[in-house]
């Protein structure tokens, strides 16, 4: 049969042997070597397929989950009426684990860069989109609004986080408000901020923060266990800022370098502006969204 001969011929070609196996498949060693080869090639293919899965297939799966989360959030927002602006908005509702509660825009990545942020940072939640660390501040609140997101596969919301420059806008939309955060000065820029980068228009509301935030910069790369980067005073979990100096910060975390989990890439931003949504015109968007 055709199939019996093909493998033998292939081995001969590879090994350069002329000897033909008697009766088609008599040589045991050849057969074993051939089968081991096949298994090894197959395992290699499986590893390659895993890369394809990680980089592409999880993207498709996550796109569906992110779309569901966004649809749920939009529906909830459209059903609950905007609170009366005259009322004191003191009641903050804690978001529900695994559900979307805000949208994240980074205009520097294009006007179409928007992700629904979900509550919690479990594996499952992060498959659907960026996740808000439980028990960190909510948008606009003093403290640190900390969000984790994937960098490779699973929608890769934070793929290009390393490209953010100081003063780039990070916009958070909630049901009631738009919150504009801007990336903090980078290490090295803080020295002569006023004359340097700080002079540009985007940076009007951004400047190095004094005590107790004196060592806070726009981007850092840390080890995975360094959870102090999401502390209210980043890198200093033991510090408590006095109320009059408390800053509202945002911290984004993702893996670093790409395709690895050896380190974490961290971006810090500071809250600069808030636009309450106008119940008469809920579709209005802040000008920062188009500054890309």
């Amino acid at each position: 049969m055709q199939g019996d001969e093909a493998p033998t011929e292939l081995i001969e070609a590879v090994g350069g042997r002329r000897q033909r196996a008697a009766g088609g498949g008599g040589d045991r060693t050849q057969k074993v070597v051939f089968t081991v080869g096949e298994v090894l090639i197959t395992l290699g293919l499986v590893v390659l397929l895993f890369v394809v899965y990680e980089v592409y297939v999880t993207d498709w799966m996550s796109a569906g989950k992110q779309a569901d989360a966004t649809a749920n959030l939009d529906e909830r927002w459209s059903q609950e009426p905007l609170p009366d602006p005259g009322n004191q908005r003191t009641e903050k509702v804690r978001p529900v684990d695994g559900e979307g509660f805000a949208k994240l825009y980074i205009p520097a990545f294009g006007t179409d860069f928007v992700f629904t942020v979900l509550e919690g940072t479990t594996e499952t939640t992060l498959e659907a989109g960026p996740g808000h660390y439980n028990d960190t501040a909510l948008p606009g609140e003093p403290g640190n609004f900390a969000v984790a997101g994937h960098r490779v596969g699973k929608g890769a919301p934070f793929n290009d986080l390393d490209l953010l420059r100081s003063c780039d806008a990070i916009v958070i939309e909630t049901q009631t408000d738009w919150y504009i955060y801007r990336v903090m000065p980078m290490e090295g820029e803080a020295q002569d901020w006023e004359q340097g980068r700080g002079a540009s228009e985007q940076c009007t509301d951004v400047k190095p923060l004094g005590e107790p935030y004196e060592d806070l910069v726009g981007q850092q790369i840390v080890l995975p266990h360094q959870s102090e980067v999401i502390a209210p005073v980043p890198n200093h979990p033991d510090r408590v800022a006095p109320p009059e100096r408390q800053a509202a910060l945002i911290t984004l975390t993702t893996c670093h370098p790409r395709f690895s989990a050896k380190q974490r890439l961290i971006v810090h931003g500071v809250f600069t502006k808030q636009y309450p949504k106008d119940p008469a015109n809920p579709g209005a968007q802040p000008p920062e969204l188009t500054e890309g």
Partner: protein
Amino acid sequence: MYGWIWRHLPGPVPVKVVEALALVAAVLALLFFVVFPWAEPRLPFNDVTTG
């Protein structure tokens, strides 16, 4: 291994080709939807949180 599978597929060659493709598809589905999702959290490639 592959030769052995090919020889044990029933039917004439065109039918065998279809069967082989179906087998490949089944293995891919098993990997993408069962094996990889199971293995992934156990591998250190994509952790994004701190702490």
